[in-house]
């Protein structure tokens, strides 16, 4: 019994090592009935497709053009295409890091301007600032929430004006507005 347990304990780390190496444990014990001739040959892995040089050159050029046009997040996206095809490309890696920092700085500045404008009840200025933040970072929740809040306020202000007109119309005994 003790021998059997010891044997199991010995097998455990061997099995673990085999599993870590991605090899099935059973492969260590080859069944005698299987002859090598019956094992189908493993087809060679297809060679990785060559990186399309012209496409990559186009992406670099477009990234630089967008950067020069003041569109950092679009430029960053084109560097990401380059990096997807050439994962060790130093220029793409460096440019993405540079754009990440630039976008964060500009986005945070726009958010701060927007919050300041909100505090001063300058709705149009706040909207522009939060839109700029969203243009830089499309998933930014703070900018999105604030823009919805501004839209909501504007919608109720319009409804309040409409209600006033509706009440005046009712008081005058004329018909409801259309729809």
């Amino acid at each position: 019994m003790k021998r059997a347990r010891f044997g199991l304990l010995l097998l455990f780390p061997i099995g673990l090592l085999s599993a870590c190496a991605g090899m099935p444990i059973v492969a260590t014990v080859e069944p005698a009935s299987v002859t090598p001739a019956l094992v189908p040959p493993v087809p060679p892995a297809p060679p990785p497709p060559a990186a399309p040089a012209q496409f990559i050159a186009d992406q670099r050029m477009e990234a630089r053009r967008l950067d020069a046009s003041g569109m950092p997040n679009q430029a960053r996206q084109h560097w990401r295409y380059v990096l997807a095809l050439l994962p060790r490309d130093d220029e793409a890696t460096g440019e993405i890091a540079r754009f990440d920092a630039l976008i964060k700085t500009r986005r945070d500045a726009a958010l701060a301007r927007g919050e300041m404008a909100m505090m001063r009840s300058r709705a149009a200025e706040a909207q522009t600032a939060f839109l700029k933040a969203l243009a830089l970072d499309g998933g930014n929740e703070q900018a999105r929430r604030r823009l919805i809040e501004l839209e909501n306020r504007a919608a109720f202000a319009r409804q309040d004006r409409k209600d006033t007109r509706t009440r005046a119309t009712r008081a005058a005994g004329t018909e409801e507005p259309e729809n």
Binding site: P46, P49, A51, P52, F55, S69, G70, M71, N73, Q74, Q77, R80, Y81, A84, L85, T128, L131, K132, L134, A135, G138, G139, R144, L147, I148, E151, N152, A155, F156, R158, Q159, K162, D163, T166, R167, R170, A171, E176, P177, E178, N179
Partner: protein, 315 residues
């Protein structure tokens, strides 16, 4: 987020990330076919075309396929995407002096204009996905709605919408159903079951939510009135159609703070007014704008309602 990309021949894929893949175009590929394969919706072809500068496809050329919207908010350095929601009421075979009645010929011309000018008719569910930034929509997206439940919606608009393959939402106020000029439950069910028409609520009696003289928005009687206009029609439509009611068109387009709050508590997805203008991704989902299309609208008038992008410098 877009559904995961299905498996493709490994040789066609040059690179893959969480939000885009780069594939080599094969002979016979089209943007619509690629959109069908990778985005599960051929209508999203323009998103792939846009990511590739709108260039014509040529075999062997690498292509970027965005799996998520490049910017799901639809806000870019030169402006932002908006979605117009068109609002119709009645239809007639000939001209009518009533501006709320759309002549058949004009409606046909408008649908024709949408089709021939690359507009994409999307549903309110698609719009909801855009508002929650969960799924991209084509660049020139438009929603069609028909209010009240007039019989002419079934007799005139429905066959035209079907012939163009345009889906629409009909907002019904339930007290009106079965009247001499209104839809029957049978017609409503037929349209709902067709998959072309989505049926949603437009209140019980079509009374404005603007407080009446002497009525305060914070009074219990006003709250009771709002509940009566929202809950019974929802229950009736859900019972009749065996489908979920999640959108509400305010009678006369008049929202109120209490009504919006109540709809929010009841988990309504969208609320629609008749304030003119397109809807950006940052719209309040319960205060959406719509453009009423009057019977005397010319095609030039109609074009003005199709505001799909607001240009503004956001650099």
């Amino acid at each position: 987020m877009v559904a995961p990309a299905p498996q493709m021949a490994a040789s066609a894929i040059l690179a893959r990330t969480d939000d885009f893949i780069i594939v080599r175009a094969e002979a016979g590929d089209t943007y619509a076919a690629l959109a069908q394969v990778y985005l599960r919706d051929p209508a999203l072809a323009e998103i792939i075309a846009g990511a590739n500068g709108g260039n014509a496809l040529s075999p062997g050329r690498p292509l970027i396929v965005p799996l998520k919207a490049d910017n799901a908010s639809g806000v870019f350095a030169d402006g932002y995407q908006t979605v117009p929601i068109l609002c119709y009421h009645q239809f007639s075979t000939g001209r009518s002096p009533d501006r709320m009645i759309m002549p058949r010929a004009s409606f046909l011309a408008q649908m024709d204009y949408l089709k021939n000018n690359d507009y994409h008719i999307i549903t309110l569910v698609d719009l909801q996905n855009f508002l929650s930034a969960s799924k991209p929509i084509p660049p020139r997206s438009v929603v069609i709605t028909v209010d009240d439940g007039f019989r002419s919606g079934y007799d005139i608009a429905y066959p035209i919408l079907k012939s163009y393959g345009f889906r629409a939402t009909f907002f019904i106020y339930t007290d009106f159903v079965g009247g001499s000029r209104s839809l029957t439950w049978a017609a409503i069910k037929e349209m709902g079951e067709s998959g072309m028409i989505d049926i949603q609520s437009h209140s019980k009696t079509h009374t404005s939510f603007t407080p009446a003289a002497g009525e305060m928005e914070k009074s219990p009687s006003y709250a009771a009135r709002i509940k009566t206009e929202i809950d019974p029609p929802q229950a009736m439509l859900e019972r009749q159609l065996a489908s979920h009611i999640r959108d509400f068109a305010y009678p006369y387009g008049d929202a109120s703070r209490l009504a919006v709050q109540y709809l929010r508590e009841r988990n309504y997805a969208l609320g629609l007014t008749v304030e003119r203008g397109g809807n950006p991704s940052f719209s309040d989902p319960l205060l959406l704008r719509r453009d009423m299309v009057y019977g005397d609208a010319t095609i030039a008038d109609f074009q003005k309602y199709l505001r799909v992008y607001t240009k503004t410098n956001l650099k």
